[in-house]
Every structure is written in C-alpha cells, then in structure tokens.
Amino acid sequence: MDTALILHFLSTPWVFLLWTTFLKSFIFLNLTIIVVSVTVFAERKVSAFIQDRTGPNRVGLPLTLLGAKKDPFLWGLGQMVADPIKLLTKENFVPGGVDKLYFWLAPKLVMIPPILVLAVLPFGSSLFGVEMTIANLNIGVLYIFAIASLSVYGITLAGWASNSKFPFLGGIRSSSQMISYELSLGLSIIPVFMICGSLNLNEIIDWQVKNGWLVSPWWPKGFSIHDLLHPAAILHSFVAGVSLQRILLWIPLMISFVIFLVSIFAETNRLPFDLPEAEQELVGGYHTEYASMNFALFFLGEYAAMFAGSGAIVSLFLGGWSCPLIPDGSQGWFWGLVNIGVFFVKVSLMLLFMIWVRWTLPRFRYDQLMKLGWLGFFPVALFNIFLTALILAFVRN
C-alpha cells in the first residue's frame, strides 16, 4: 500500500471523523481516569490537611526492591497507583442471598453514565482544526441531564440487590434525593439557554468567549494579546461590556450558578448531600456489600461523576476552555493545547472546591434536604426564569 493512498483514505471526511473521534475518546477517557485517581489521592491529602493530619505520605517507588540504597520520598504519590492495584487484586466476594444479575449489573450502571456525559463536554477549542469535543451535539445539555440521572438506577439496584438493610436504605434515599434535585438542576440553567440562545455546549462557550464568562459577563469580544498593547482597547472592552442589561442579568445568573452548583453536589452524592452512602448512619450505604473491583467501579463512578459535574459547571458558567488573554486553537496548535490545559485546570480547581466543601460541611438531614430541594431551590429557580425573561424583554441594552 502506498503511503499517499493511506493518507488520502484517512482524510476522506467520514474516515477522518471516525478515527479522530476514536482518538479523542481514547485520550479523554484516559485523562479522566488519571484525573480520577489523582482526585482520590487529593481527597485523602486535602482532608488530612484540613484536619491537621499528614495524610498518606509513605508509598513511593520501591527502588530498594531493585537494589537501590534508598527509596525516593514522593509525598505519598505512589498511593495513586497502590490503591487501584489493591482493589484489582482483592477477592471479589459476593455475599449469599443477593440477586446475582442485578448485583453484578449495578456497579456498571453507576460507572457508565458519568463516562457517557464526557462525550459532549468541550475539553478544548480545536487542535489542528479538529474540534476538541467528542460529540458536538445540539442538545448537549439535555443529553447531560438525561444520561447523568441514569446513575441513580445503578445505586437503587445496588441497594435492592444486596439483600441487606443498609444498602436498601441507601438506595431509597438516593432515589428520593434525585427526584428532589433533578428538577431544580434542570430549571436552574434555563436562564443560561435564554441568554446564550443555544443548548449546544460549544455554542454556549463561544458566547462566553465573546461576552465574558457567565458568572461575570463583563467583557465583550474577550481579551486578546493584541489588546494588551493598547491600553485604550482594554478600557474600551470593559466599558463596552457594562450595560444595564448585563448588570441586571448578572443577578439571575448568579442565582442559577449557586443552584446549579448545589444541585451538582447532590447529583454526584457528595457531602453535604451524601445521604445514600452516609458512613456514620448506613455503614457504607448502597455499596456496603460490595468488594474488590465491583466496589472500585462505584468509586470510579462517583469520582467520574464529580469530574463530569465539574466539567458541566465549567462549561456552562466558568467559560469552559476559554481564558482571557489566551486565543483559541485557530491561532495555532500551541494555543489549542493551552486551551485543553485551561479546561483541566478549571476542572481541577472545581474538584478541589468539591473536596474542600466535603470536609467543611456536615451532612444535611433527610427531611432538610427534601425541604431545601422542593421548598427552596425549586421555586427560586422557577422565579429566576421569569426574572431573566423580564430582563431580556424589557431592558434592551
């Protein structure tokens, strides 16, 4: 076969789409798995620091086994590798009396939805002209909601199939919690669609590049390096960004940001809303009876959901891959890589925030959570939609 022929074949439109999509999926999935294992480590380390402990600081490279004199001190970073190895090599114990089919199915159902959500997240602008989204869907955000809420089935099935009290309670709690929050989660970002005029995450990010991030929609056109050379241009972009409509829109946007953020915490079963797995009340919650890799899948699912949730927050409110002063990928492959880096930095900060909140706040009581969801966020989110509509209709500039 001729090389030119292969290159020609690879650049025919549908083949090109096929192999770039596979490559993007492969790379993004692996990056996510790495981020998940780093997050697990960060969770342990940050929790330790917040509680004035040191956290895992022993595991490193076992060079002494290979004849070296001293193991390098790695601040316990080897823990990231040691944890998965431990979980992979453990006995996969299945207790008697469980419903085998659903018992085995449940962990997969928990893990798959967050990974599917990753498909629509724009994790970069473009690289060599290839868009850095695995699937550029026009219904991107709806897809996220549709898929992300499926993971509750896995949790409920796990609780039911385990044939044990505590997992069962965890499963029930999970489903009621999901019903309380899914609604305000969906309603809270309707103002975003009204302002951006699109459900496509890429287009929402494009809007934010042009008009400023949705949490601070102040600069039009965005900053660029060229602007830096002309102080007047910076001033102009700021002054032009501040209009009455923008200032007024900022209020409903902040409300929807807070509601969305809190709902994502509930969606990913993180403290202060981790009722399904409340360790102190329910032993381990829905995964009490699981061991080894089955348990690890729950773990992976939870942290992948955190990653996907952070990705959604970053894409919707925090400007996605964009950053002031940094051009997008059309200016060269270097900027394309920088944009991917910006996305991951933002997501990491978001994950850090989630961990930080987890080790600060105590758990909500069951009824408090329902009350907050139904009587607090639901009406506020509904009111927020009307507020946005009124501002958009009556305040023109």
Binding site: F49, I50, D52, R53, T54, W356, V357, T360, L361
Partner: protein, 176 residues
C-alpha cells in the same frame, strides 16, 4: 415537668446558610493552608517517632520474667500465674533444681515457661498473683510475629525482656 426549649430566632442571613457556609470554608481553608506548609500537624509518624518516653508508670505491657541481683531466677514454678491467667496464655513445665546447684534450697524452677502473646490480654493478674514477685508487666507493647509460633515467648525471651529486678519490690505499693 416538661422543659420547653426555645428555638432561637434566626436572622435572614442565618436562614440562607450561605454566610455560615462561607465562614466554615474560611476556617477549613486556614487549616489547609497551614498544614500544606507543615505547620500545626498533629500526626505522629509512628515507627520513627514514638511515645515511649511518655508511657505512664502504671503502663501494662508484655509480661516478663525477672532475675534478682544475684542472678537467681525468681520464679519457683508454683504455676499460680498459669492457673489464674484468664485467656490461658501461660504454660509452665516445672523442673527440679539439681543437688549441686547453688540455689538447691529453692528446690524448683521452671524448666519451660511459655507465654503465648497472641492470647495474652495484658490484664496483669499474673503479676498480681505471683508470690515470689518473679513476673512483671514491662512496657513493651509492640509484639509482632509472622506466625503463631513466633508469637510465643519462651523462657529465654522472657528473661531477656525482663532483665534484673534488684532489691525488695513492694508489690502493693503504687510505685513498682
């Protein structure tokens, strides 16, 4: 009489949770920042750092056998400790002291003295019951072994751990 606890009136800020959440986040952030620079950490790195110097006088560690200042085994193998031991960790095989021995008049000493540390509960009854003040609980607490056999302290180990106890010991006094 029933006591009615007045519910405190919450201000608007308190009802919204958010200000107190931010205050809480500030507190944890302070600790996080401090701990990252290795300040204020209370963790003790166990095998490298130990609390041994701070163990209290009355600490009950591993039971051991002692000799007196003349090198005589204080134990006369009366087997009282063996009988009182609640988890039956002690096994003694008494033996007679031969004619030509310097301590012939003591008549008996243990031929074998095993304490199974996997069974020992560190209750100290053996020390309390011993009429000869021959068995003492010392401050060793980290008793490890790779199998059950290694967890059994034989006579030699017990004397090595116990060492010499010189002079009169007043076993009913607070200080031992």
């Amino acid at each position: 009489m029933a006591i009615v606890v007045e519910r405190p009136k919450l201000t608007l800020a308190e009802k919204f949770y958010l200000p107190s959440i931010i205050a809480g986040l500030a507190i944890t952030w302070k600790h996080l920042k401090r701990a990252i620079f290795n300040k204020g950490i209370v963790t003790m790195q166990y095998p490298e750092e130990k609390w041994d110097a701070n163990l209290p006088e009355w600490y009950r560690g591993a039971p051991t056998l002692v000799t007196d200042e003349h090198g005589r085994e204080k134990c006369v193998s009366c087997q009282l400790c063996e009988f009182i031991c609640p988890p039956r960790a002690i096994t003694i095989k008494p033996g007679e002291i031969p004619e030509n021995d310097k301590w012939r008049k003591v008549e008996k000493r243990p031929q074998e003295f095993d304490i199974d540390m996997a069974r020992c509960i560190y209750c100290g009854l053996c020390e309390e019951v011993c009429p000869e003040e021959a068995i003492f609980l010392r401050k060793d607490y980290s008793i490890t072994g790779l199998n059950r056999a290694e967890m059994v302290h034989d006579k030699e180990t017990l004397y090595k751990l116990g060492g010499v106890k010189s002079g009169l010991t007043f076993k009913w006094n607070e200080l031992k």
